[in-house]
């Protein structure tokens, strides 16, 4: 770009240079060309707004409808009310008018809106999945970047890992359903089964994120360690992985956020509970599963539970994602 030599602005960024170039020429542009240029830029900006607007609208709707129960301490400490359907029916004036009065006296005000079992279940299933997928994923990435490198096998694994990130999450659920739930019957439905399904989902994400980070570790570090006589395995554990740690943590957290939000692989392998279950065995529930099943229940109380669970889930997922991005930005190795 020789133009810069005649009129050098102090360290211009690329876009500023373009601005200067197009702006300078702009004065002699024909009306049609100038219009097209401006119009296309407006369209690009507009496409961003078109996508952002529904997103903001959704956040607003979810908060408006779900924030109230979440702010109550009971939400975090109480079991999920099991009789929402009955109390919804009892309070339903239309049904009474039609002569279908259930005759029950469940007062909807007496129902305590609690979600503790689902909050605990979400943490438990994601914890189980992380314990399985993160170590395995990091070791897999170590193979790809430290041993396999550009070899045929490593390239193939790398390729299939990318492909695996595109496998629908519901398939992971079906897979665990066939190998874990069907042989064990009802007792097979548990937080552990959900953890297995989520681990399958997280594994390729962790592998690829970790490998990207290991690749950024300068070879000079490995060579320095090797020159001191350190074995490859020890170099990897004490030099390479620590150097890439921030990126690995950030990538793993993104996988955690993704897993926490998943419903499809969880719903039919986790079973059901309305009481807090701290064990990997036995029926359990997650926030995402609750959102779906309460929506299916349909009454006003159930709907309130669904919206509350949505606020809680979005909160957990967004906080995890933002922390991951913050770590990635704060500790990037250049």
């Amino acid at each position: 770009m020789t133009d810069l030599q005649t009129a050098p602005p102090p360290a211009p960024s690329r876009s500023e240079t373009f601005e200067a170039l197009t702006g300078g020429v702009g004065s002699t542009l024909s009306g049609g060309r100038r219009f097209k240029d401006g119009f296309s830029s407006v369209l690009f900006a507009l496409s961003f707004l078109l996508v952002t607007a529904p997103l903001l609208w959704m956040f607003w709707d979810v908060l408006r409808q779900g924030l109230e129960p979440v702010l109550n301490l009971d939400w975090w400490t109480e079991p999920i009310p099991g009789d929402v359907v009955r109390s919804d029916l009892a309070g339903n004036a239309d049904l009474s008018d039609l002569g279908f009065d259930t005759g029950e006296t469940v007062d909807s005000d007496s129902v305590t809106l609690g979600m503790q079992p689902a909050i605990v279940g979400t943490i438990l299933t994601v914890l189980g999945a992380s314990l399985l997928a993160i170590p395995l994923g990091i070791l897999g990435a170590v193979y790809l970047n430290e041993y396999g490198k550009k070899g045929r096998l490593a390239s193939f694994i790398r390729f299939m890992t990318d492909v695996m990130t595109g496998v629908p999450s519901v398939i992971m659920g079906v897979f665990i359903y066939t190998i874990w739930v069907i042989p064990r019957g009802v007792s097979g439905r548990s937080a552990w089964a959900a953890s297995l399904a989520l681990a399958c989902l997280m594994l390729p994400i962790v592998v690829r994120a970790t490998e990207e980070m290991l690749r950024l570790v300068p070879d000079s570090l490995r060579e320095a360690s090797a020159a001191l006589g350190t074995r490859t395995w020890k170099t990897t554990i004490t030099v390479t992985i620590p150097a890439a740690m921030a990126g690995i943590v950030s990538g793993s957290l993104l996988a955690v956020a993704r897993a926490a939000g998943e419903t499809a692989p969880v719903l039919f392998v986790i079973g059901f509970t309305t009481a807090t279950n701290l064990s990997f065995q036995g029926g359990n529930t997650t926030l995402s599963a609750q959102i779906y099943s309460q929506q299916q229940n349909g009454g006003p109380l159930a709907t309130q539970l669904a919206w509350g669970a949505a606020v809680t889930l979005i909160g957990i997922v967004l906080v995890t994602t933002l922390v991951a991005r913050w770590i990635a930005k704060r500790y990037t190795i250049d």
Binding site: Y143, L144, Y177, W233, A264
Partner: protein, 318 residues
């Protein structure tokens, strides 16, 4: 360094064993991805086999999916899955390319990071949240919108079969929500593709007097065409497998129709809805849907990744 630290160096044997052991463990972990993919294919196929035995070729070519009548033809569900994904891609691609061009070429520097952050956060929103939001807050609006469109075109021959009466839950509703959900992935891949365009080519076009738009049209787009195809296919693959949001708003009626505003059903949504209650042939048929979906998405993703990889190599090669 003290002499104590140096002692392991003299013990060649132990170090070599640890090295080999670590290498093997890492290799096995790397192979885990392949093992899991193979296990998915084998285990689900075995569980789905009874349905194929029971239904024969009808399973693959049958046009009726009616569990209560014992009929399990997957064509209506496959039709719904592809239709919804196509709608999503058609809506999402122009928007995604617009956003990607906005962040790489048009937006001022200080706007780029925030725009990218917003799109990334969008990818983090759980599918089920999109689903209940659309179900409670959008479907009534969609219903009146779709019906007024249907009324407007009711006299026009072909259009009136595409835009028919609606109850809100529809292929179109699901497609529109899916479009929002696949926009982040198409945008991020497109962004990567656009950043591989050589700066010299772009500056050259501008130096010749091209406007920014002419530079994009003449340099950026032609250079990125292959990569963009890959990006679109990745988005399509994501749309094919999207489950919960679609399940909540599509209406749960397996339906081969030209009416985009009619209720429908997709393969993942049907699995999701029915698998926990199903047994015997129905269960096998649902797992079979999973096998078909697995094969389709693997195929789409392999093609997409291949295209992206070829483009990558070409760019890095020169």
């Amino acid at each position: 360094m003290s002499s104590a630290d140096l002692t392991p160096l003299t013990e060649q044997g132990r170090g070599a064993v640890a090295d080999t052991a670590f290498r093997v463990v890492a290799l096995l972990s790397g192979l885990a991805v392949l093992v899991i993919l193979a296990a998915i294919a084998i285990s689900t196929s075995i569980s789905a086999w009874p349905a194929v035995q029971d239904q024969g070729l009808y399973y693959f070519f049958g046009t009726e999916w009616a569990p209560s009548a014992g009929k399990y033809g997957i064509v209506p569900l496959a039709f719904g899955t592809v239709l919804v994904s196509l709608i999503a891609v058609f809506i999402s691609v122009p928007l995604s390319l617009g956003i990607a061009l906005f962040t790489t070429e048009v937006a001022p520097d200080r706007l780029r990071r925030p725009v990218i952050t917003v799109i990334d956060l969008m990818a983090a929103v759980p599918s089920v949240v999109f689903g209940i939001w659309a179900f409670y807050n959008l479907l009534p609006g969609f219903q009146s919108l779709f019906n007024s469109i249907a009324d407007a075109v009711s006299g026009i021959p072909i259009l009136n079969s595409i835009f028919g009466p609606s109850s809100g839950s529809a292929y179109m509703s699901a497609g529109m929500i899916l479009a929002l959900m696949i926009t982040p992935i198409i945008t991020s891949v497109a962004r990567e593709v656009f950043t591989t365009v050589p700066v010299n080519d772009k500056s050259g076009a501008l130096a010749l007097g091209a406007t920014k738009w002419e530079m994009i049209k003449g340099v950026v787009i032609p250079h990125s065409f292959g990569g963009l195809t890959g990006a679109v296919m990745l988005g399509f693959g994501r749309a094919l497998g999207e489950t919960v949001a679609v399940a909540l708003i599509i209406g749960a009626v397996p339906n081969i129709t030209t009416n985009l505003f009619a209720k429908g059903e997709t393969m993942p949504a049907q699995i999701f809805r029915q698998l926990s209650e199903a047994s015997s042939t129905f269960r096998a048929a649902l797992i079979g849907l999973g096998v078909c979906l697995f094969i389709i998405t693997i195929f789409v993703n392999i093609s997409a990744r291949r295209i992206v990889a070829v483009v990558d190599r070409r760019v890095k090669g020169d």
